[in-house]
Symmetry: C2
Subunit: 356 residues, 2 copies
Amino acid sequence: MSRHDDVCAAPNSNTPQREGMVGPDAMTERSGPAAIEIGLNAAIITCAKDNPQILTVRQPVDDRPLEALPFGPFTPIRHRTLEAGLRTWVADQTGLHLGYAEQLYTFGDRGRHARADDNEPHAVSIGYLALNRFDESTALTGGHWQGVYAFFPWEDWRSGKPEIIDDEIVPRLTRWLADQTSDRPDVAGSPFSRADRLRMCFGTDGTQWDEEKVLERYELLFEAGLVEEAAREGRDAAAQWDGLPQFGRAMHLDHRRILATALGRLRAKIKYRPVVFELMDADFTLFELQKTVEAILGSHLHKQNFRRLVESGGLVEATGNVRTHTGGRPAKLFRFRSEVLLERPAPGVRVHATLN
Amino acid sequence: MSRHDDVCAAPNSNTPQREGMVGPDAMTERSGPAAIEIGLNAAIITCAKDNPQILTVRQPVDDRPLEALPFGPFTPIRHRTLEAGLRTWVADQTGLHLGYAEQLYTFGDRGRHARADDNEPHAVSIGYLALNRFDESTALTGGHWQGVYAFFPWEDWRSGKPEIIDDEIVPRLTRWLADQTSDRPDVAGSPFSRADRLRMCFGTDGTQWDEEKVLERYELLFEAGLVEEAAREGRDAAAQWDGLPQFGRAMHLDHRRILATALGRLRAKIKYRPVVFELMDADFTLFELQKTVEAILGSHLHKQNFRRLVESGGLVEATGNVRTHTGGRPAKLFRFRSEVLLERPAPGVRVHATLN
DNA sequence: CGGCATATACTCACTTTGAGCAATAACCTC
DNA sequence: GAGGTTATTGCTCAAAGTGAGTATATGCCG
């Protein structure tokens, strides 16, 4: 837990409502007619060479298939814990057995803008981030690996700044913020105006790009009606872009938001916890490790410094073997030194992006 | 999420259970006889001079009052969002209007060790961290401010290493880990043995103290049966300490665990996000700011370097006024520069503890 | 007015970063 | 099989950041 944690707060809610019942005794009261259902959602990320991938299942919605994260309801009778329930659903739907998994966030405001159909149970969804090493030999019984950046084309800077940002996103967001009638923030409690958020999210106006703000960027696009999910939920802002293309591939329900949370968290955590190694084989070269980190961060790193950081930080140890056919001089193979976890408080790949 | 975010993962669950129903279609099935209830819990932290405090309500349990966090069930009909529900409950129970609030974690395994009373709804609790400036003029209509370190006496190192660690905690944990029959970790999926966890948590064996591992320490004590809550849940390990005192004041249900999560997250976040200012008045001296940070971190900081960090980091700006009667030379008053949020990706009080 | 206590300014050695240069060693191609 | 390609590996260097100490300023109190 050293630096960065939550890192990914959801937008604040607005004014509290009037509340009839008072005191903790209400805790024992059964919930009303609209029952609560807890959905467990897994953003399972892997990395094949330098392609970060997300495991999706196809979900038919109005006769049109839509990508979804593996998910299912939490059933206390069957699932001993939340995470056990998640693992069960993932195994059933995809045949994959999860390794590392961590809880991300509990989203309760899904359907905030949907029609108030009180017959359906109110859904609260808990998002998880899971990491799996890419293994072509393990056959999936369901689901497909999809490139993460197909859902967030503006997040991959490895071939330079994505053109979509300056060509499409910034112009449309600029138009959107000009439409704002007042200077006040959209969300009560948030100290930021639309203009400030544009600067922070997309690094306009000299502000630098922060690769960890994946969720903030997605939510900004959502509020501006620039992603398909916003139109689906009937956001007003979506109407003005009628006919123009939306940004990135859409997903079922709020799953793309969960994926954004997952990517943001992973990008943050990779710098202070040795989580990359969950994506690597037991033995790897330093270049393979670097390529994986770069794939997650979406930017390039300075090779020699990366090497120094990882080696002097005690994160890896040489196995004694080498890998040939790398295209050049053979590379020493390394393995993760799990002892670092005991030695240092925040052992991660503390890296800073460069622009080459 | 720059550094540290989740920071506070709950222990992994064990083996998944067999699952009858397959596929996301089950999502539409209503949950079974034991309904799910979502509890919203607020760890509201403030800081009075150099005393970090937590707002508690008294909860009668078996004719004995027990400290509890303000809490209540999430009722979708009444509460538009999870956070709105939380704010309503807190206002109703204590009269306090929350400022900053962020979600911490969703705990689903409460009652894992309790008797399997399937008539009660299964409770899932969502913990929140809230920060409020200390204001003696605002009267509470319920609840009391309690010193945070009464619940975690081992976490306050400002007067040196707490004696309870070497005198009580480490000896008993050492005895507990000797009782372990195998070398394997207690929890499947966790790579740490009991001995490793003792080292990591309490800095024995030359490992250094990590002030952010508040939750990990509490959970270790819980598993070893050294906190009252463990005995209450009927943990086996608790039996062996019969008659010996338990560590720290107990709380209702899993509320102390939520408080541990809150303190750990706050300690992490204070270093990379300007959250301290949520605890300060509009104007403050740098020494007051330092005292507050120290109170949260539970350790002392180097005064001159703290000053340099905070000023050169652009976190504050002088108001032009001074505060006299500080006991010495008058101190310049400062205010928070909220513009930093736009300028730098991770503006926090990046501090390192010293030992003076 | 002198001593005290705190605030504030400045110095300095040491470590950590960001970035580049150079040499090495296999493989590939002609 | 010689030379080019590509990636690994070792090294240097300046700039910035960090930990810790010293000196001066300024109000309060007796």
